[in-house]
């Protein structure tokens, strides 16, 4: 018996079974303050975004305008004093029609990309997977480029051209990848990833070709590819919101299945998961959410890769926690990044994709280094 005891208990970590019995409880308590911090971060980022900007609107006034639209709270607001006539109306337009839709879209885009990234990383058992890995980005790029080049022709109505074309391009490409990877009614994950990469490079080549012949439209194509939340209206929010909200809810509910499939398809199957159907469901939801996000805001990179990764380092790999935390974290990160994008060097705007990469990458690197030390 002593022989066994010496072998099975590692030298530095001796835990009594009584202490071990409370592991689940202590882990939950440790998570609780992190979730609270995250919620605070979300609210804080939105408040900062609504008050920051180039127009001279005081923070107090901006928040007051926002609160005046909230039922119940608006009755409790103190009466306005010493404000110039017309200033309130101008502030209302800027806060409610310019900043707010952009913030809400930022929340949706950040949440959508991060949730899909978290789900795909689990599904593909690969921490380097992101929402774009299965060809969604290249397809959207092709669609958007075609849309931009055809602007003004009969096939393209002015407002909706780019989002609709990008959405169709994205979904069609993923569907093609899926069909390509289907063998005997099953979709082997490795084949699927490979097909995504191959089809992606082919479609990117087509995009490059279109860019060469784009002529005067080239700057618009390039700007779209970099991804931006500038000049977005409530209509953009309206097309993106249903996909992101429903998709996030669905993926949160699928957390346990994601846990199982992240251990491998065969073990997941042995633990009672209908893996083929589950895979299809995750891919379809992920593709639709990604397409809806990309359609309204272009290709914003790095969020869908880094946010789930950071969330996993902070909260652990349990997808029932990881997916909602990624949603909140991605939403907050995106709003902060976009606010930086429009306030750093006024009046010029930096494409938000540049901000997400330049802030996300170093932080990610830092976490990677420290996490390795701890392990």
């Amino acid at each position: 018996m002593t022989r066994r005891a010496r072998r099975t208990i590692p030298p530095r970590r001796i835990a009594t079974s009584a202490a071990a019995a409370t592991t689940a409880a202590t882990a939950a308590a440790a998570h609780r303050w992190r979730v609270a911090a995250l919620a605070l971060m979300c609210v804080g980022s939105v408040l900062w975004a609504i008050t920051a900007g180039t127009s001279a609107i005081g923070a107090g006034l901006a928040i007051r305008v926002l609160l005046s639209r909230v039922p119940v709270v608006s009755w409790l607001l103190p009466p306005l004093s010493h404000i110039e006539p017309g200033a309130l109306e101008a502030a209302e337009v800027i806060v409610l029609d310019v900043r707010l839709p952009r913030i809400v879209l930022g929340l949706l885009v950040g949440a959508g990309l991060s949730v899909v990234g978290a789900a795909f990383q689990g599904l593909f058992r690969n921490p380097l997977a992101d929402p774009y890995i299965i060809g969604a980005s290249s397809g959207a790029a092709l669609g958007a480029t075609i849309g931009i080049l055809m602007a003004g022709t009969a096939l393209a109505s002015p407002t909706w051209t780019i989002p609709v074309y990008a959405f169709i391009g994205s979904v069609a490409t993923v569907a093609f990848v899926y069909a390509l990877a289907t063998i005997d009614g099953r979709v082997p994950t490795e084949t699927f990833l490979l097909a995504g990469v191959v089809v992606g490079s082919f479609v990117w080549a087509a995009v490059s070709f279109l860019m060469v012949i784009a002529g005067d439209d080239l700057p618009r194509v390039v700007m779209w590819l970099m991804g931006s939340l500038s000049a977005k209206s409530w209509s953009h929010v309206r097309i993106t919101a249903p996909y992101v909200l429903l998709g996030t809810l669905a993926l949160v509910a699928m957390g346990r299945g994601l846990n199982l499939i992240s251990t491998g398809e065969e073990p997941a199957r042995f633990m009672g998961l209908d893996t083929e159907r589950f895979k299809t469901a995750v891919i379809v939801i992920g593709a639709l959410v990604t397409a809806a996000v990309v359609a309204s805001s272009g290709l914003i990179g790095f969020v869908g890769l880094v946010v789930p990764h950071i969330s996993r380092m902070l909260m652990g790999p349990d997808h029932r926690v990881l997916v909602p935390v990624s949603a909140a974290g991605g939403a907050a990160f995106m709003v902060v990044a976009d606010t930086l994008a429009r306030t750093l060097i006024p009046p010029r705007e930096i494409p938000v994709g540049i901000i997400t990469a330049m802030t996300g990458a170093p932080f990610f690197f830092y976490l990677l280094r420290t996490a390795r030390g701890r392990r």
Partner: protein
């Protein structure tokens, strides 16, 4: 729970071979004899599929029976279809023909969730990618029973009990990505037990383990069979371990049952020569009345002086390049 495998034919290409009975590549039964025959070769299915070695069939009409309270070992050369057979038994791979019956019930008619309440498996190849804790990993075994959100106290209690069973409680908070092979193996067995299965499938449970862990895992497997009354089916490579611990053995060769019965009847010098192509001396263990196997030499046709029995033609099809 009694598990009956009835003339299972399986191919990874999911296509029925076009030419039944065509081609005259290989004929004749492998030259092996078995004892009590819990498993037996289904001659009809064998005749139908045995003709053409290149038709992609991995299992060519396998029949066997596993009973509760007994540890059934499946042995055989690499590529003989052992792991595939285990997956078919577990309902993960659907055979082209044949049945797998659990107390008479067809496993392929059950939903995956219901299947997982009957049968659990520990695969040899599972490598954790994400740093779940040991406790979280074992809790995953409760998935077939779990509510949509959260973990019920009952599930936590069962997970803890299963961790005690395989003695991994002290690892509860450790990450599975940082465990040794032996620790991981016991964690995965605990996870399988958390499914509260009636049938437990172990795919090479002793691979990569040191001698001590090997004994421990095999003792655990026999305990689960003899004391907990589970039907345990294990694919094994170590013939001495198989001979010592298993109640019944089945030798699988090229997708067919070559011999079946108690270890003393199955692990004979003739069978080992015929199946593995090795010359071995089979004696008695000094501790228990079970076979002890000493491999003398890995035989080629030359080494045994042309003594290879008729049924043996090397490992797979590749032993004679010139003929192809």
């Amino acid at each position: 729970m009694r598990v009956e495998v009835q003339s299972v034919v399986f191919s990874y290409t999911r296509r029925r071979p076009a030419e039944h009975g065509a081609g005259a590549g290989r004929s004749g039964e492998p030259g092996v004899r078995g004892g009590g025959f819990r498993g037996r070769q289904d001659s009809l299915a064998a005749q139908r599929t045995y003709q053409n070695g290149t038709n992609g069939l991995v299992l060519k009409g396998v029949s066997l029976t596993a009973r509760s309270g007994r540890l059934l070992g499946i042995i055989g050369p690499n590529g003989s279809g052992k792991s595939t057979l285990l997956k078919v038994i577990g309902g993960v791979l659907t055979p082209l023909s044949g049945q797998v019956l659990y107390d008479g019930q067809d496993i392929f008619r059950l939903r995956p969730r219901e299947t997982a309440k009957l049968v659990a498996a520990v695969s040899a190849s599972e490598q954790p990618v994400f740093p779940f804790t040991v406790e979280q990993t074992v809790l995953m075994g409760r998935s077939p029973y779990a509510p949509l959100f959260g973990d019920s106290p009952a599930d936590l209690a069962i997970a803890r009990e299963c961790m005690q069973r395989t003695r991994v409680c002290h690892l509860a908070r450790r990450k599975v990505t940082g465990l040794s092979s032996g620790e991981l193996q016991r964690v995965l067995i605990a996870r399988a037990l958390a499914q509260r299965p009636k049938v437990l499938l172990l795919d090479e449970p002793t691979a990569h383990l040191d001698v001590n862990f090997q004994q421990e895992v095999m003792e655990l497997a026999t305990d689960l069979a003899h004391e907990a009354g589970l039907t345990v089916i294990a694919v094994l490579h170590d013939l001495n371990l198989a001979g010592k611990y298993c109640d019944d053995l089945v030798i699988l060769v090229d997708g067919q049952v070559a011999a079946a019965g108690p270890p003393n009847d199955v692990l004979t010098e003739e069978n080992l020569l015929a199946v593995y192509g090795v010359r071995a001396i089979v004696g008695r263990r000094p501790d228990v009345d079970r076979p002890a196997i000493f491999v003398v030499s890995g035989a080629s046709r030359d080494a045994t002086g042309g003594q290879i029995p008729e049924g043996y033609d090397g490992i797979g099809e590749g032993s004679d390049c010139d003929a192809q």
